[in-house]
Amino acid sequence: MEQVTNLPNKKLEETSLAEELRSPAKKLIRIEQRGRIYTLLSAWILIITLFSLLFFITSKGIMPFIHGEITLQNFFSTHWGPTSAEPGGPFFGSINFILGSLMVTLLSALISAPLGIGAAIFMTEISPKFGRKILQPAIEILVGIPSVVYGFIGLTLIVPFIRNTTGSIGFSLLAGVIVLSVMILPTIVSMSVDTIQSIPQSLREGSYALGATRWQTISRLLVRTSLPGLMTGVILGMARAFGEALAVQMVIGNSPNLPFQLMKPISTLTSVITLNMGNTVQGTPYNSVLWSMALILLLMTLFFILLIRLMTQRGKQG
């Protein structure tokens, strides 16, 4: 603290300011601190929630293997017979379900990715006005439709349709794929729109100036430049498809088949968990194995997020 007051010509009227500054407004500071603490706590809640979720699901999921209720070998087999009394049983083979989840995810992404990216290109390059006025709200409504409603529509529209046209029972891998591809479409579209829009206009103009047609500009320039972003959208969609439970469960038939025939009923991780979690007794191996499946769902989510992070990093570099 220096008190320099010996400047010439300085008639210092002692105002309240100096005094006021020396005695800070305690009340203001207190309010300020309280606000900071409140927001910090809120942020902490996010982290705590995540970690307790990771902890609970993980510990519950690896429990059956640690306690020796189920062997890994048993779990990673194709034989599902949780109540089987056969020798060597019960069987908790979950490979069919893991493959089932992967299969519906991949197939629906295969359908949805071109459609979604196409729609995004339509909205940004072909007809922005129509896109913004009509397609954008339509996509937003699609996002909002609850998954049970998708399931119900699948059940009453798609399953009978498949049944009538093919003569199979209708509940099938195909039905699940159709429902999921509609459900993940909005995710892919909105992510793709964001990416394509962020490409500077000058790049497009450069391409048109060279005499390229619109399609050439789109296919050679836009899609290539925005590839990481487009892939991120597709992966986000896949993450959603992989974790979707009810809509899928309602239409795929829930038989523990290997998912290699489009018309056959299959099961996924989510459908098995949904159907059996309520009907099995806590602590039995049958119940425990469902938690292990939940852990696999969780790990897959983390894997998808990792993929997305890698994608966005590539996008930044490239």
């Binding site: 603290m1 220096e2 008190q3 320099v4 007051t5 400047l7 010439p8 010509n9 300085k10 008639k11 210092l12 002692e14 105002t15 300011l17 100096a18 006021e20 500054l21 020396r22 800070p24 407004a25 203001l28 500071i29």
Partner: protein, 273 residues
């Protein structure tokens, strides 16, 4: 610039002070003020005083640190994480550039108006009453403050019928005067203006210049401007900044007619900047 120029600037230091002694009262005195943005040295060792009820203009080429220095004077640089301000800024016998002093209290006494008019997205009335109310002004006091401040900036007659309309409905010049009204409603002792007219048309500009001359009676004013005529018209003192240095500080008349530094001459004659 060349090393020769730098040399000149350094020799200039003793010429700047002391100013011809009149009966001014020092309102604020900056001593050895330095500002760093990270490793960038934006303001270098500045010594400058603001005198009570006078207008001081800061001029100089773009990027020379005028805004940065101005923002030191009410601790606005605290809001930029990378900025570090050293030195002393004396006001009323206390160095306000100490982190343990509460910057918000200082800003109540030293108002600021920005280059781009930035009224709150609130009504005209609220724009002015907002801050005083937080500091305990009653309803009646607020009402009076609003009228008083709007009168002072000459906006009262233009807006008195629509006090509760959004401030964003006003024209740019009106918005800027509203911002000034908002600042003086806090009854500060000093008002800092950072290029307050650069976004305005000539008529609004001249209104604000008139206003500044008017406000000088009650407040001490520092104004950053790129408009040399403006500085000449309204200021009593002028400080010329160049590359973070204060090159010359003098009575406006003196500085414009008998500049003592080559850099000042170059600048005034439009040879750079």
């Amino acid at each position: 610039m060349t090393s020769q120029a730098v040399f000149q600037f350094q020799t200039a230091q003793e010429n700047i002070h002391p100013l011809p002694q009149m009966e001014q009262v020092t309102q604020l005195e900056a001593k050895q003020v330095n500002v760093f943005y990270g490793s960038k040295h934006a303001v270098k060792d500045i010594h400058l005083s603001l005198y009570k009820n006078s207008v001081t203009a800061f001029i100089g080429p773009s990027g020379c640190g005028k805004s940065t220095f101005l923002r030191c004077l009410n601790r606005m640089n605290d809001t930029i994480p990378s900025a570090k301000v050293t030195g002393e800024i004396m006001i009323d016998g206390i160095n306000m550039n100490q982190s343990e002093l509460n910057a918000t209290q200082i800003r109540r006494h030293i108002g600021m108006v920005f280059q781009k008019p930035n009224p709150f997205m609130k009504s005209i009335f609220e724009n002015i009453a907002f801050a005083p109310r937080l500091y305990g002004a009653s309803k009646a006091e607020c009402k009076q403050l609003v009228e008083e401040s709007l009168q002072k900036v000459g906006l009262w007659d233009e807006v008195k019928d629509r006090l509760h309309h959004s401030a964003l409905e006003l024209s740019g010049g009106q918005q800027q005067r509203l911002c000034i009204a908002r600042a003086i409603a806090m009854k500060p002792s000093i008002i800092l203006l950072d290029e307050p007219t650069s976004a305005l048309d000539p008529i609004s500009t001249s209104k604000i210049e008139q206003l500044i001359l008017e406000l000088k009676k009650d407040f001490t004013i520092a104004i950053v401007t790129h408009n040399m005529q403006q500085a000449a018209r309204i200021s009593d003192y002028t400080a010329f900044f160049y590359m973070g240095d204060l090159i010359e500080f003098n009575h406006t008349n003196q500085l414009f007619h008998q500049p003592s530094q080559q850099a000042t001459i170059d600048y005034l004659t439009g040879r750079f900047g």
